[in-house]
Symmetry: C2
């Protein structure tokens, strides 16, 4: 694991946060290409001057060896990566900082923390990488905090081993705190990989992925991490919740699926048997251009309904390619990729390109094929590097905060029949809010994953924000709300793969069947009877009787 | 829907139960080929002479128009298709018969039944086709029944329409009581099909499939019905539980997965949006022979790990092929099938056959390919007809009862690394019990579905049973127990796709994480607060406080 600390207010490690040259370039780009008004360049508040409240409680002696109340450590475990969190961190506001940061070395340590937290009514926030963008990895604040004697961030970084590998079944037992690259470095000796590359791959880890139902690089078939979980162990205040190693079963509602998406509100995911596989030996890729998102969507629909199972099948509309610096692209781009551990992928991509052509797509460069030799470089996947770092987060994301850009996303999934009307409504909703809030702004559209019955659609907004952080957070909230309210008008979900956390909870409460919310609360009452696990996230503890 | 009544003690409709000639042939086969001692030929007890207790309660007036206490109707809704149930029905013992059979015409009728049942503490057993083999579609008996004022079988047969079809998203809204053939007859007008063909296809329906996590004909990828559920509505005593139409989401633990496998213990599944698709236009099939189950398993493992996604990939060992009349086959048979709506399947099956050959398999007839023209006959799938009727249930199954054969199955799923030892242990366990219980007997092995990390294995036992029905049921129980106890020694599941019901519940209680059992009970407390839904199945209602 890298010993360089993470960037406090932006993506990547501290030494990778955007530099002066990067900021100047991005400022020029925003003002010239995206027509933003002149952007100020703000300075981050140094950590020494930041607001970090004194801890209200301390870890007891028996937990002392793996707990700390160090100011800087507490600051680093205060926030995830949601825009308001980045803004507050940049401006030195760490007011919800945890009182204690626990870094358990064993599952017994985890149990000990939960026992103490339950006894003393301390709120526990499990954190793996802390890259969540839904406000789910922060200690409770405000009213929520008042219910607790204190807060502890339970940082899983020391549970970072691949414990066992079953080469025959292609599965591996991996600890919850293991970060993406550390997982695959350890699996490499077995010629195996966990083929799950969320954009946060290098900075996030297994426990967080499972807790948030993370979406990986597979655009079809293995989209959410759920599909790769063979069994899982979650330590709850009421005890361990462990499922069996089984390829599948039909014995009652699937217990794994209760753990996937539990967002730290039921327990701490300490380990899981995951499906792994060799690196792909064959790969084919192509970029196809369309005149309009609806035409591109029609092609994508046919590809996925033909069960060609592309590993990659993303749509980036022309606003998006421009936003990320591909100004020369004036059409809507579909990136297709097929991969196989077993045999050539030419046939599949050629069939997909035929479908694209019939739907009006243009693939000027033709497909690119990689054979046997592929996959020997250190990077697990060149696309990952391109998407995960340079393409989005490292650049545009980190520049947004110092350049006062209001930047956020709204994501959902929608059946094909409703997509055209929904898409129009979303663009209209953003249009309507951007001008009054920020004077102008842009919204781009992406399909991150696709299913036979519809796409996961992803809208990214960028607008010139106010220099005042509170006002800027309010702008972000209002724009995001305009999108999410439209999502609800179409009876859709507030999140396809970014979790509910606190930021989507209001809309989640509308989404879930009423009886299901009560069911989950009842489950929380069983697994976390004192209601100390990640309060405010997903569902509340049941009312006391 | 056919108006011919179902066979009371055997598979199929009343007019399809095995006839005198069939019985004579099967008797000769058992005695000559399978070396059984001479079999008696028992006569079923006529319904007029059967034990059917008088009802203890009657439906109230406001439910009267769709409820009945008719003796024959109650008899027909007493049992599912578990061997002890068939034996009791054959010998005229319908002692757990429901007091009332309700056949609701609308969801409001369903709500009214549940309201009455909750008020009056009447146990409700939801039934779709009543083909379950785990004892889950029968009213409670014995101690369980004493807790209730009466019992009602809630028969969904009148909720049998395809209500809406979304051709673009390839999904359809289907009522819970719609039987397999009725689903596809109604979808035919749209050129679509629900490609889920359990062996019970012609006699079972959507609500039961979802409630039991039914396994379909797809051997890989879309194995359980869970994979095809887009959204679902379950009427619970506490109200409707309805999920949204979404291709996917990441908002908390998936609510659909709580409904899948709920086995009528939480509510009644009245409708679901299901993923459907056109008939396959291309298909390739082959039978490959191996010298030994382990060699065949090695080939299957490689095929599924190569992600070739065969629609059919079954292993039948040489005992099984013999049992079903293919006495000339003296090796272990793998049946492979590929299908596609989009393009030729030759390439995929040829690659699979290459893998088989490398693993020592022999495909004397080579693959058989079907192109464009395939799929126009009335039968949805010739394999279905072969497997679902003649191949197993209609023949051997229905002959077992009158010929005093003890016949049953034990099924599980196991990772590849443990399969060889587990398989040996299972065969040894059956060997050890068959001789003392029945003097002799046979056990055959099948893979019904396969996953990258292991197969769903399925053992079928047949042995000469006692003419006394109680003694024969006890023989069945002891042989099944020997298998299930071995399953538990290997920390596996008592069911891959036949549900828990009452017959697997003892082992299910060992399988599930303790905390999960309590969680499900808490959920039952929310959705079914009076504990009237399918008592004795899956989990108990929470203890009253």
């Amino acid at each position: 694991m890298s010993s360089t600390p993470r960037g406090r207010w932006g993506w990547g490690f501290e030494n990778e946060l955007i530099d002066e040259d990067g900021l100047r370039d991005r400022k020029a780009f925003l003002e010239s290409v995206l027509d933003f008004p002149e952007r100020p360049v703000l300075e981050p508040t140094p950590i020494a001057e930041a607001t970090i409240p004194e801890p209200e409680i301390e870890a007891p002696d028996h937990l002392d060896s793996f707990c700390t109340s160090n100011r800087a450590v507490r600051a680093r475990r205060t926030y995830g990566m949601a825009p308001p969190e980045n803004i507050r961190a940049f401006h030195g506001d760490f007011s919800p900082a945890p009182d204690v940061v626990a870094q358990p070395r064993t599952e017994t340590d985890v149990e000990d923390v939960l026992e103490w937290a339950t006894d003393r009514r301390v709120a526990v926030t499990p954190v793996t990488g802390g890259t969540g963008v839904a406000g789910g990895t922060s200690p409770p604040a405000g009213e929520n905090r008042a219910d607790y004697a204190g807060t502890v961030a339970l940082d899983l970084r020391n549970l970072n081993d691949v414990l066992e590998v079953d080469e025959q079944s292609r599965t591996a037992l991996i600890e919850g705190g293991t970060m993406g690259p550390d997982i695959n470095d350890q699996l490499e000796a077995h010629g195996l990989h966990l083929r799950h590359y969320p954009q946060s791959y290098e900075l996030s880890g297994l426990g967080g992925w499972i807790a948030t139902r993370s979406g990986g690089h597979y655009a079809t078939r293995y989209t959410h991490i759920d599909e790769l979980v063979e069994s899982v162990r979650m330590i709850c205040p009421a005890g361990a919740f462990e499922t069996q190693r089984l390829p599948a079963h039909g014995a009652g509602p699937d217990a794994n699926r209760l753990v996937c998406g539990s967002e730290g509100s039921l327990g701490v995911i300490t380990r899981a048997w995951m499906q792994v596989e060799p690196r792909p030996r064959y790969r084919s890729e192509a970029a196809v251009y369309f005149d309009g998102v609806l035409k591109a969507a029609a092609a994508i629909r046919r590809i996925v309904q033909a069960k060609l199972y592309p590993a990659n099948c993303r749509l980036h509309d022309r606003v998006e390619t421009t936003m990320y610096g591909l100004e020369d692209v004036d059409r809507d781009m579909v990136v297709l990729g097929f991969e196989s551990t077993d045999g050539p992928t030419e046939g599949a991509i050629e069939r997909a390109l035929e479908i694209c052509e019939e739907a009006g797509g243009d693939c000027p460069d033709g497909p690119d094929h990689h054979g046997e030799g592929y996959g020997c470089s250190r990077s697990p996947d060149s696309d990952v590097v391109r998407w995960g770092r340079a393409f989005q987060m490292g650049g545009a994301g980190n520049a947004a905060i110092p350049l006062c850009v209001v930047r956020g996303t709204v994501e959902t999934a929608v059946t094909w029949d409703r997509f055209p009307a929904f898409h129009e409504a979303m663009l209209a909703a953003f249009d309507e809010v951007l001008e009054p809030e920020c004077g102008m702004g842009h919204v781009s559209t992406r399909f991150s994953h696709v299913y036979p019955d519809g796409p996961a659609v992803y809208y990214t907004f960028q607008a010139p924000g106010d220099a005042d952080p509170d006002r800027r957070i309010e702008q972000w909230r209002r724009i995001k709300r305009a999108g999410l309210d439209t999502v609800m008008e179409y009876d859709l979900t507030p999140t396809h793969h970014h979790a509910v956390g606190r930021n989507h909870r209001e809309w989640y409460a509308e989404q879930i069947p009423e009886n299901y919310g009560e069911s989950l609360r009842a489950v929380k009452g069983v697994l976390d009877p004192a209601g100390v696990m990640n309060p405010g996230v997903l569902v509340d503890a049941p009312e006391e009787e």
